[in-house]
Structures are given as structure tokens and as C-alpha cells.
């Protein structure tokens, strides 16, 4: 496997998270010390802007643009939310990151707060990651005792505190406006068309919501420079390293830090050890459940925002789910759609009503009740998902769109054979639960 620079996982240990002392020895908190003494908030934003850092949570929005979206004269208090919710199926990179080096995400969050002059921050964290919630709570106390959190951080006039906020557990809470509702104790549904979090977020105050992997990049950008960060990527348009998760039918599933823009083939074959014995590559989801299936023709593609966008795909969370030749993609799309049906917040009609219809069509095709006209019906229904209030429904449509775009033949086989060609016997576990 080719050697590459380790940045986010440089302090990885086989059996435990890096301690505060270990993080400091590796250069940790140096960026914060320098920032509060020598930098103005807008200098931090400028450096992050020059680095080309884009959000790692799924949407890929340029971080500095989001930060700069909080107007200078905006009211106080301002908030930072470190999104540690990570409920995108197939995605586990943030769990690995927090569990590897908690202080890196803590320092990144404090720096983001400094950049937008925020007073209060929260780690919004899902219940499945309770052990990480406890880890963060413990390490936040250590950071506070060291003077990196609280009133007048390191003797400066910058005061900021950071706490852990536990979620009750729902996928929609990962959406920024829903997350803000969740933190305020409201029913966590998204807010249609904004308001912009930069102006009207938590308690109607300016609020920054960033994924923890995005935030963890910030200390390194400040200490080693924007050019260095850009140079880490393998692509011209990319920047930094990326935590790629690989799971599914590969030999060694895991979370791998590699240069942004590393080719899919390299990630799968070198980092993840190639396909499982007896498995042949068939398709993958490049960035979690709300990205479209990609077939073999993209196997050598560079995993970065722009190369994927160019061929009509999205990097998402960069969490690759690999499917083999024995896996039925109609059934896989059905599983994914089932997930979205269950997790829809139910607020707007396309999502609440449309997704169950897509699910039912896929279920009928998978169980030998498919008809030719279901294919255009599925196309039409997925097309309607763009009318939903938030990105949930369009994301839910993506795997089904990918299925129809590249694997229509497989769908047709189900219909013409009046059964799933991948199933030897007529038994169906999914039926019992439907």
C-alpha cells in the first residue's frame, strides 16, 4: 500500500484514544494558542478559505463560505454545533475519528468558534455513540482544566464553552435545521428553505453547524498552512486528506485516511484488501445511503467532490459500501428505501407519501409481482422527491435512480422471471416484516 501522510489519524493507537498529553506532543493546541494571541477571527476564515476545505458531512459546502456567512455585526450569543450525529448508513468515520483523537475535534471546534466569535458550542451526538459521548465529556473537562475552554481562553478576551448534547436518535437530526430544532427540544423536523443558520439558528441566533471531520482539519490548516493542506490531495480541485470508510463485500473493511482524490480502485484493493474471497465487484455506494449506486465503469474514479460531480454522482460522506455479484441490487435498494421510509420525519408530502410508494413498487418487483410499467412509475416517483422541504427525500431517491440508470436490466429480469434471480428458493424473510 502506498505511504501517505496521516493527519487526522496520526495519533491512532490500536486499543484506545490518544490522551490530551499525546495530542499536545503531536503539536495539538498549538494552532489555538497562536490563534488567540496573534490572529483575528477573519484571518482564520481566510486561511481556511485558502485551504479549499469543504464540508465532510455530505454536502461538501466550502467551510470558509459557511463561516463567512455569519455577518460581522450579527447578534450574540453565537453558537457552534459540532455534528457528531453520523447516522448515514454505511458511515462510521466520525466514530473512528472521535475515538482516535478526541482533542483534535475539540480543538477544531474551538477554532471554528473563534473564527465566528461564538460563545457556546455543542457536540450533537447519536445514542449509538454513547461511549464517545462519555469520552468527549471527560476530555472536555481536561481541555477546560488546561485553559483551552471557558472564560478568557489562554488569557485572551475570547470566551467559549463546549458541551455534549445527546440525541434521542433519529436520522433526520443530521440535517442542520433539524439538528438545531433537536437541540432546542423541539420536534426535530427540518425548516423549509432556511432560515439560514448563519443568521437564525439556535435560539434565533447565528449558528454554525459543521461535521466533526471538517472541524478536525482546521488545527492542521492553521499550523501547516493552506498550501500544504491543498497539496495533500491527489486531485487539482481537492484539498486535504479524507477519512474513507469501506464496508460491504471487501476483505478488510475499515476507515482509512488517504489523500482526497484517491482512486476508488486503490481504496478498495489496497486499503480494504480487495474483494472477499469468492466475491466479484458489482457496484458501490460512494458516500452512504443517500448516494447513487455506481457500476464497474467508475472503478478507477478519483474519490473527490469534483470528479464525482462530473459524472453525475456525489461524494457524500465518502463512506464506500461495496456490493458483489451475488448481491441483488433491487433488494439492496429496497433495504435503503425501507430505511428512508422509517426515518422520514413525515412533515412534507413527497417524502412521507412518496417514499412508501417507491418502497412498495420495489418490494413488488423483488417479490415477483413486478410489472413493466413500474419502471417508469419509479422514475416518476423519484423525480418528485426534489419537491420535498429538505435534502432527505432527494437523497433517498438517489440509490433508486442509480439502480434504474445502471442496472435496469437487473430490474427487468426480476419482472420477466417473476422472481428475484438471486434467490434460490421462494422463501422471503423480508416478507414477514413487511
Amino acid at each position: 500500500m502506498s505511504m501517505s501522510v496521516k493527519v487526522l489519524l496520526k495519533n491512532a493507537r490500536p486499543d484506545r484514544p490518544a490522551t490530551f498529553e499525546e495530542y499536545c506532543r503531536s503539536g495539538g493546541y498549538q494552532a489555538l494558542r497562536e490563534a488567540v494571541k496573534t490572529m483575528a477571527p477573519r484571518d482564520v476564515i481566510r486561511q481556511v478559505n485558502d485551504s479549499g476545505l469543504r464540508g465532510r458531512g455530505g454536502a461538501g459546502f466550502p467551510a470558509a463560505l459557511k463561516w463567512g456567512g455569519i455577518p460581522e455585526g450579527a447578534p450574540f450569543p453565537r453558537y457552534v454545533v459540532a455534528n457528531t450525529d453520523e447516522m448515514e448508513p454505511g458511515t462510521f468515520k466520525d466514530r473512528v475519528l472521535v475515538g482516535t483523537d478526541p482533542h483534535m475535534v475539540i480543538e477544531g471546534t474551538i477554532l471554528a468558534a473563534f473564527a465566528v466569535s461564538a460563545q457556546k458550542g455543542v457536540f450533537f451526538i447519536r445514542p449509538s455513540y454513547e461511549m464517545d459521548a462519555r469520552l468527549l465529556e471527560r476530555e472536555l473537562q481536561v481541555a477546560r482544566a488546561a485553559g483551552y475552554l471557558g472564560k478568557n481562553i489562554l488569557g485572551s478576551d475570547f470566551s467559549f464553552d463546549l458541551v455534549v448534547h445527546r440525541s434521542g436518535g433519529r436520522y433526520i437530526c443530521g440535517e442542520a435545521t433539524a439538528q438545531v430544532n433537536a437541540i432546542m427540544g423541539n420536534r426535530p423536523h427540518p425548516i423549509k428553505g432556511g432560515p439560514r443558520m448563519a443568521e437564525q439558528g439556535l435560539w434565533s441566533r447565528p449558528t454554525l453547524v459543521n461535521n466533526v471531520e471538517t472541524l478536525a482539519c482546521v488545527p492542521h490548516i492553521l499550523t501547516q498552512g493552506a498550501d500544504w493542506f491543498k497539496s495533500l490531495a491527489k486531485t487539482e480541485t481537492g484539498a486535504g486528506t479524507k477519512l474513507y470508510g469501506v464496508s460491504g463485500k471487501v476483505k478488510h473493511p475499515g476507515c482509512f485516511e488517504l489523500p482526497m482524490g484517491t482512486r476508488l480502485s486503490e481504496i478498495i484493493e489496497e486499503a480494504a484488501g480487495g474483494m472477499m474471497r469468492g466475491s466479484e465487484f458489482k457496484a458501490l455506494l460512494p458516500g452512504g445511503a443517500s448516494t447513487a449506486f455506481m457500476p464497474k465503469q467508475y472503478y478507477d474514479l478519483e474519490m473527490d467532490f469534483e470528479p464525482l460531480k462530473k459524472c453525475g454522482h456525489r461524494l457524500g460522506t465518502g463512506s464506500i459500501v461495496v456490493f458483489d455479484h451475488q448481491t441483488c441490487l433491487v433488494a439492496a435498494a429496497l433495504n435503503l428505501t425501507e430505511f428512508f421510509v422509517r426515518e422520514s420525519c413525515g412533515l412534507c408530502t413527497p417524502c412521507r407519501e412518496g417514499l412508501p410508494q417507491i418502497r412498495d413498487l420495489l418490494w413488488r418487483i423483488e417479490n415477483g409481482q413486478g410489472r413493466e410499467e413500474f419502471i417508469p412509475m419509479l422514475r416518476e416517483m423519484t423525480g418528485h422527491m426534489g419537491h420535498a422541504y429538505c435534502a432527505f427525500a432527494p437523497g433517498a431517491a438517489e440509490p433508486v435512480e442509480g439502480l434504474l440508470r445502471y442496472f435496469e436490466e437487473e430490474v427487468r429480469e426480476h419482472i420477466s422471471q417473476r422472481k428475484c434471480p438471486f434467490r434460490e428458493h421462494g422463501t422471503d424473510h423480508a416478507q414477514a416484516r413487511h
Partner: protein, 181 residues
């Protein structure tokens, strides 16, 4: 106003009877410290759930009265979240992941094996009150699929032998505990 109505109907009487004063004071202190009481609602629900074993109807009323919310507002959240249990559950809740990766790697047989061994259907609790099996959306353990989450702890790369070992271990442990990192 709704709280007055509840008081008038005597619906709150469970409060005094069931919630220990120590816990009430602890939660009141936590709420008082918050900038906005309502931001504590999930924590308070978790605390009462831990006390009662699940978020009972009485507990919903108590959460509402502690936070100055209506019971409806609390229940709207309680029924929305996956990890707030509005029905009694076992000491150990086995959240079996049915995300796409676990599905691909044998989630259905894990679920089937679990239910068969425990003699329950999905969603049911064993007669000894020890285990409840709930299918759950992707738990973020895809690198060790198929996996389950039990009281905050992951058990991954499951097969029948490992499931047996897991249940053996859980039966031995005196109290349900999340394992700290």
C-alpha cells in the same frame, strides 16, 4: 394550564409516589443551570427512562412538569426518538442493525437466530425480563457487520457462536453498563 388540568384530575399523583426526591432535585438543578430548560428534555427523558426502565405515562407527565412543557409536547418527542422506549423493555435492549451493510452480510439470519434463541418475536421481551430485540437503523458499526448494539455497547462480526457468547456474557454481568473508552 394543561398541568393544572392534570393536577385537578389527580393524574400527577404518580409523581410523588414514584420519582425519588434525590433524582428530582438533581434534574431540577440540571434544568436550572441550562440557558433554556427545554434543551434538557432528551436528557431528562433518558434519566427517567433509566429510573423506570422505560418512559412510562407517569414519566411523561413528570418530564412535562419539570420542563414546563405539555405532556403532548413531551410525547411528540418521546414517540419520535428511537432510543426513548414508551413500552416496557428488558434489562438489555438488543438493537439489531438492519442497515444496508449488515443486511448484505447476514443481518436477517442474526435477527432470526436471536429471536429463536430467546424465544421472542421482534419487539418482544423475554419472560425473564432480560432481553428485548429491536431492529434498528444503521448503528455505525459497518466495519464489523453484522452488528448489534446492546445498552450502548457494540457486538460485531456476529455469527451464531458469537451471539451465544454475547448472551452468555450479558447474563453474567450484574448490571447493564455502557463500556467506557
Amino acid at each position: 394550564m394543561i398541568n393544572d388540568w392534570i393536577a385537578a384530575k389527580g393524574l400527577h399523583r404518580g409523581n410523588q409516589r414514584m420519582m425519588p426526591e434525590g433524582l428530582r432535585r438533581e434534574l431540577e438543578a440540571q434544568i436550572k443551570e441550562a440557558d433554556h430548560p427545554r434543551e434538557c428534555v432528551v436528557d431528562v427523558m433518558y434519566a427517567l427512562q433509566k429510573h423506570y426502565g422505560y418512559l412510562s405515562d407517569d414519566a411523561v407527565l413528570e418530564v412535562a412538569s419539570l420542563l414546563g412543557m405539555t405532556p403532548l409536547e413531551v410525547d411528540e418527542l418521546a414517540t419520535f426518538y428511537d432510543f426513548i422506549y414508551r413500552e416496557p423493555v428488558g434489562k438489555y435492549v438488543i438493537h439489531a442493525c438492519d442497515g444496508v451493510v449488515c443486511w448484505m452480510l447476514g443481518e436477517e439470519s442474526v435477527l432470526e437466530y436471536l429471536c429463536r434463541k430467546l424465544g421472542v418475536a421482534v419487539g418482544e421481551t423475554t419472560a425473564d425480563g432480560l432481553f428485548t430485540v429491536l431492529p434498528t437503523v444503521c448503528i455505525g458499526c459497518c466495519d464489523h457487520a453484522p452488528a448489534v448494539l446492546v445498552n450502548g455497547r457494540f457486538y460485531g462480526s456476529l455469527n451464531p457462536e458469537r451471539i451465544d457468547a454475547m448472551m452468555e456474557e450479558l447474563r453474567r454481568v450484574p448490571s447493564p453498563l455502557v463500556v467506557d473508552r
